[in-house]
Symmetry: C2
Amino acid sequence: MASWFSRRRPPVVVPRLKPRGERSLSTRVDLGEITPELLPYLGQAALVQMLAFETYSGIVRGVSSLAAKEAVSQSAGAALARYQGLIAEIRRRGDDPISTMQPFAEMCAAFRAVITGADWRESLLAASVAFGLLDDFFIRLAEGLPGDFGPRCAQLLSSDAGRDATVRLLQEAIAEDPPLASQLAMWGRRLVGDTLLVARSALHLSDNSEDDEQHIEPVLTELIAAHSRRMDELGLTA
Amino acid sequence: MASWFSRRRPPVVVPRLKPRGERSLSTRVDLGEITPELLPYLGQAALVQMLAFETYSGIVRGVSSLAAKEAVSQSAGAALARYQGLIAEIRRRGDDPISTMQPFAEMCAAFRAVITGADWRESLLAASVAFGLLDDFFIRLAEGLPGDFGPRCAQLLSSDAGRDATVRLLQEAIAEDPPLASQLAMWGRRLVGDTLLVARSALHLSDNSEDDEQHIEPVLTELIAAHSRRMDELGLTA
């Protein structure tokens, strides 16, 4: 688990994360100092989307119901579109997408194992929790990117096509099998720490850990608040 | 294997299938009589695209090279876009996509087992052979559809985004491992019969089998000619 996470002070003011789709351009916290360089940002963000695509499409392949395939394929398609958009940004810079993503391959492979559930319902909740949180994180981090990359990346990542269908499918699964609710709630809680570790690995940290925490802290609080709202939507306790 | 297939007369004139992307509106053979009703056509064509999406995305998940993931994800995305387009046509008619596709679920599940290769290279060739052939088939069949559904479906299915990347990847795999060429050529040959059976299952056949064969025959000849050209492109003997 995330050892740095226990250092978190209890939040006093919980800043509201703007709803997705509405670009957050406010600068409550200056993220410039902890924002990674553009290229690592694009490489990691793209590979996270590829992993989201692989996760959702693996669920499509694993379920037998056509209705479930139809619902989850929308999220798979949305993740692929975000991946392709980020790849296009890398190419636009004249860089090679593959070598830009390569440094994050090991981390993504390890994270894939973490978010693989015992059945499709756990895997779908995991995808929803992990990629919901990571999308929010990379949207927030985009504010610190140079030039017009920030707004463009934020807009790219803000498309949440497919999310409604996934939420409905999980709600139906829980309605059909009520004990699933507590199982998924517990599983969701386990995933948050590991997902925040992936997020944290993207940050450009200085040697002054107190300074860093001051910057990271409010962002984590926002991310967790947004995560809790997503769990609420499913009727699950975060 | 396809028993009807052995009844095929040796082709005398091999009609050229128009390159994909260029809609074939000629009526060398009147397909009206063997074209299925619109709704079964849309249901089966959509489910075939879902299977293509599942197959390509399964390969993306199975390979570890980011370059291969990038290449094959393009084909996965193209299949998903075609699926979504066909689903939209079903909705446009006011029909339910799930119940429209349901009658073909068993056939697709069985066909999935047929096209699963021993490794990602076999699976990728299988996808390329099977869905290349089926796409051509449904494009050709679209000519017999009522109203403007035909041209719209043909255009939808004619997008072959991702094909170049898949071909390059297979060519590279063969260059790296020359004995793979004969293995893939043999595997490709095995798949053609089963794929044509799936195609044939879509046709609306009368009780007069001689009449039917007269209609089906030239279409099969076209499909096989286009298949041979695709194998040629890979340096494989059809």
